[in-house]
Subunit: 258 residues, 4 copies
């Protein structure tokens, strides 16, 4: 007996004269939905609520652009060497959206989920234990700390205010506050909440599955990289960046002392 | 005397308490702009017009998802082998948005730009010459033909209707009509306009620079791939697709005849 | 006081008339070293021993090609869509060399290292505990199991024989045998050792750092993908593979039962 | 009647107890062939000649490493942001091996092929015409010029000497000399031959198809990037390079003059 295949897709089916996305005629969606509405409809299989839409838009606007971060530099350097492959430069930039900088929102969401799931009376204790564990293992706490915005990333307060104004239930806002308190208690000083934590809070308040948080970040960053490549074509900066990077790291013959 | 550096960026500058994007306080944009408004503001350096916004949204909604196209298959197969690298799977998918399928909109825009720039009396003749040249070199004409939608991609009529309703000036809509006429004349039969041509028309009617068309496509496809990876995690199809692909291309010992 | 920079590179320095790689004149290496000798010299900073060279060559030959695996399919599908970007197709293929299939050798090396470091009397017990832990967490044991080569990957015996003949010290060969014994004991049946385990054994016997194992695999696979793209250009198979993959995963309207 | 499929692969077929690569038992190749022999056998479908092997090894050794070039910087910056995805950092580096720097060898081979195919009496004239055309279009001539090695890349003389010593037939060596002469004649000054031209000469003397030249370059660069990531893990330089790159390109508010 043949194996019964269960593999299927619910995303899209096309016949010669009709394209259907998640059960809806695509032509009825074009011109009706905004990009973000379509993104969420495609992802979740149902129309997003106003809250989901507001929070996702805010997050995507907030993280599209943050200057010449490593991913933007990598994209521009890749275009410098391979101008024939625009998509290659975009891909090179996105490959750096990983666990260390831009992609930490999903790691932070993991911590917030655990706190939000715990009984209220135990949350502070759990948060202190969590922060303590990261400290002992000398691992950076996802969602906290920033090399430049040492007194707090300006986007954080704005994003949290939007969540409150939009009527977010508040479970993850609260979980972040508990975590922030634990950080102060364990470290004996404040460590600024960074934008990854705010992303995690807003997208979990919007009930997006934790696994797609990085996907939202990647899409917003993709748009940002399009702007970088456009500027790079008009006002090239790649060679200057390369030369500066190269000069910053001199060759040392093995065995030589600096 | 030191070389006077002219490299600079106008995209973003950050100080400890303020992030500025193209001269505006980012915090004033978060919560005010939609993702697509921000994308266009970031790209163009000024607020998009209602027409620009409407056309860009329509294009991005139209091309986010088109089923298990090669880029979606590549992304899912990459996740299968490297589940630890979400961004790697997205990047693998985007790398296939190239000259042949998804990326032909910019090639088509090149033809439309040339037609739109020609004196009206010469356009038909230029279009016939262009189609003839592609035919002689046996190269596919960008924006025409589709393996499934042989009588026309359903998205095309919808997108062009939106452009007209939104009050697009019509230069590129007209250029496409001229090109379509030339195709019929040279080939002696109709060849369907595909969605890449419609993308080219709408984004050029929106006065987006030709060089960023592929960037708009990549961003919309990035969002679509997020949906594919989300479905792949919930309802895995990668192994079935791999096995089917492998079976379709059997090993033949060198020298053996089929 | 300015921060004292310690960033430097010992890999390569160039002056207008001389290129130096790790302290040696590159021109004295060209024509003298084979590719693999140069690879190891560049990596380790000293000439490889005959044993290191033999084992690395054997591994790289063994894993260059294994048919239409997911990474080869992804590379060919990417070339199909973006023929203008050869490096994009190669990159797409390499992105799938991850934790699940091709990249498990480094995970397996982690287990072998722990066993090799344990006192001999405790190794069996540690191996049983390790296998038991993977089983309880229902995680696949790195280096064991293969969908096709159920009685053992033919490359494994060959690679281990080469290691023995070449005079490898045998610590990791022994560790693998202990692990294999533990698998039989815990599972009550044999599970075949796969090629990732053999790669781990040989490269650790060659004293390559565990962190570079995936780099050796990627380089060998890169060479293999070059062959795939060359064949794809001559005898295209991408469209057949795509169509087969697409047919294998039909669209199901949400709510429909299969 | 069903369509007769002709898609097939001659690269590899596996049964449970045997893996065959291009008609040969893989186990008979492991331990017998060096990596480069296997690479060429896999690519060409037959054992390489001693000349082919010598020239390919020389090329791959020559281009594995050339310091902190843009591709190496991009790979290190990608690892900085996404340490969990080693293959992502390698892929990001390879994506910059394109038409402008590292990938120009295939463009140069195109010119050399045309010269080698022309009757001897017409070669000089064709070369002058070619150089003139590039000059008029203000396009860089593939294989000529280098920002640092202004009097000639030291690798070039070495590679050409190896080709002569190894008994290369000399068609492409001659074609390069003709092209070099034309450059001097048209420009009125010498422009140094760079390593891409030497790669093109040697690989065409080895009768490798022009289309795989970039594949050889990518494989050698892949090995080089493995060394960079290994050094980056031991002696991190990514943050210094990022900061230097960022400082080199300051933010300028739109409308501000520098």
């Amino acid at each position: 007996m043949a194996r019964q295949s269960v593999a299927h897709t619910e995303l899209c089916g096309a016949t010669p004269d009709r394209i259907e996305v998640r059960g809806r005629d695509l032509n009825e969606l074009i011109g009706k939905l905004s990009f973000t509405e379509m993104f969420l409809f495609h992802l979740l299989g149902k129309s997003p609520s106003p809250l989901q839409l507001t929070l996702t838009e805010a997050v995507m606007v907030a993280i599209m652009e943050h200057g010449l971060v490593p991913t933007a530099v990598a994209a521009r350097l890749t275009l410098l060497g391979a101008p024939e492959s625009y998509q290659g430069a975009i891909a090179a930039g996105l490959l750096g959206v990983g666990d260390r900088f831009a992609g930490t929102a999903s790691e932070c969401a993991l911590l917030l989920d655990a706190l939000a799931a715990a009984p209220e009376a135990e949350r502070s204790q759990l948060a202190v234990a969590t922060v303590g564990a990261f400290r002992r293992e000398r691992k950076p706490l996802p969602g906290f700390g920033h090399p430049l915005h040492k007194d707090g990333d300006p986007r954080v307060a704005r994003l949290l205010a939007i969540a409150r104004e939009a009527g977010a239930p508040g479970r993850y806002i609260h979980a972040l506050a508990v975590l922030e308190g634990a950080v102060s208690q364990v470290l004996g000083r404040k460590l600024p909440v960074n934008v990854s934590a705010a992303i995690a809070v807003l997208l979990r308040e919007a009930e997006l599955p934790r696994e797609v948080i990085r996907g939202v970040v990647l899409t917003a960053r993709c748009a940002g990289l399009v702007g970088h490549l456009h500027e790079e074509s008009a006002v090239p900066a790649g060679e200057e960046m390369w030369e500066a990077a190269e000069r910053a790291v001199p060759y040392r013959r093995p065995g030589e002392r600096s």
